[in-house]
Symmetry: C2
């Protein structure tokens, strides 16, 4: 099968073009793709450089590259007419139907999807990130009154990265609290969490996967033993059920999926959007 090169061309960071392109490429798993991101193409000169680069790859590989574009300005898009590749134009495809529906012209200016159009959004994300860092792993509980959600679970179920993702992507204030052996033993919720029961959300995972993850940290010893892992997970899930704490099994979930499941399960408001 011919190997294809994929270019993500953007007048901004390229995040939107990558997101669009990759979600489409997952539908062609049999195919091999080399991926190149070309961000900040905001001038005719830069656009022409990219076209030359794509055409060079086309000639060299004997296969037309795929080009996913989120260029907004017509004068930049037009430079790609002579490109030796399949040019998929995100805005072209969807702006016209939207203009008709909303009965207004789009601004056709360089998008600021990930930009500082809303400086407040930046500040909220930073605040939320600082909150996640300050309230990680049960470090502090005094601020739980300000938390949107408090993740609980045993060690290595994904609490920390999920809190950080919730903060960076959505500006959500997420704390996390590890369940101790003692609490698992007695199946009782820590006193500090009692007042915040309605903010709790549990994370669990399959024993096999947890053991694999823990072994990478500590190859031997009780921490990563099959018995210990099973005991902790059984205890955590029993505790979730006893206190009616909603929980999600993260075994086959990505960080985005865990975060999205928590948000849609709790109805927590996103303070910013990715």
């Amino acid at each position: 099968m011919i190997r294809r090169t994929v270019f993500f061309v953007s007048d901004q960071t390229g995040v939107t073009a990558e997101t669009l392109g990759r979600s489409l490429l997952t539908q062609f798993e049999a195919h091999e793709f080399d991926q190149v991101t070309v961000p900040f193409i905001d001038s005719v000169d830069k656009a022409d450089q990219v076209v030359r680069r794509i055409n060079a790859v086309a000639a060299e590989q004997g296969a037309r590259p795929l080009v996913f574009s989120t260029l907004v300005q017509d004068e930049l898009r037009e430079r790609f007419l002579p490109v030796q590749g399949l040019f998929l134009d995100f805005f072209e495809a969807f702006l016209s139907p939207l203009e008709r529906e909303l009965q207004m012209r789009s601004s056709h200016t360089i998008g600021r999807t990930h930009g500082m159009k809303d400086a407040g959004a930046y500040d909220r994300r930073i605040e939320a990130t600082n909150f996640a860092l300050g309230n990680d792993d049960g470090a502090r509980t005094a601020d739980y009154v300000a938390a949107d959600v408090i993740l609980i679970g045993v060690s290595r179920t994904g609490k920390t990265p999920t809190c950080l993702y919730l903060a960076l992507a959505y500006g959500v204030f997420a704390a996390n609290y590890p369940l101790s052996e003692d609490q698992l033993e007695h199946g009782t919720l820590p006193k500090t969490l009692e007042p915040y029961r309605r903010k709790l959300y549990g994370l669990t995972i399959s024993p096999e996967r947890l053991q694999k993850i823990r072994r990478e940290r500590r190859p031997t010893g009780r921490y990563s033993s099959a018995e210990q892992v099973r005991f902790e997970l059984r205890g955590a899930e029993a505790l979730f059920r006893r206190y009616q704490v909603p929980f999600v099994d993260t075994t086959s979930f990505s960080i985005e999926e865990i975060a999205s499941t928590i948000l849609s399960g709790t109805g927590i408001e996103r303070r910013v959007r990715p």
Copy 2:
């Protein structure tokens, strides 16, 4: 102007539909949109529920909602034919041209853009996140040999969130090191950083913005005084130039833009893609 409701419908997390939809909506800034994300629509029943919900909103508001869909399965998309809204189908629009170009049928299965298709990617992101946490704010320097990039700059220029974003989004190992008053005074690079000069990347920001950010933390005192902020930033930028450390001004940049600028400026390989 009529207020419109926007639905992001997905068989997964909705992150892709949100990202694509929002980048289009930025082109209609004059318009007000209420945004609703409906993730994990993976059955005909769930699809029909969403259609009923959208139609109810249309009737109630007297305006057709906008529906951004990343549904992949034809049988789910078909349920939206009777929807009382503008249905924008990201897959429909681009899958056919891709199928023609690649001369193969797409799998038309539920995409796993943000899924565990690659469990290794999950592990790399977690490792990178742990690296960022362990190497934040100069906490540890022994691991710098493993760093892809080491961000340097004065307090509150965005080092920590940028490192965490680089880790979560791209699996990049990013450490950060705050420049001390002493180093700024003498304009010399800390000894610990000397061996890693080629991994350094600087962050700077405008004095006005930095003062505003610092004031939110400490309203009074030297830390957030105009003189101190100017002194620190002048010293940092002089140091960047003296040691030829590439740097970016984060004043009007989002976290995505800072991260993307660093990656495209250094050519650091993304270990995973968002």
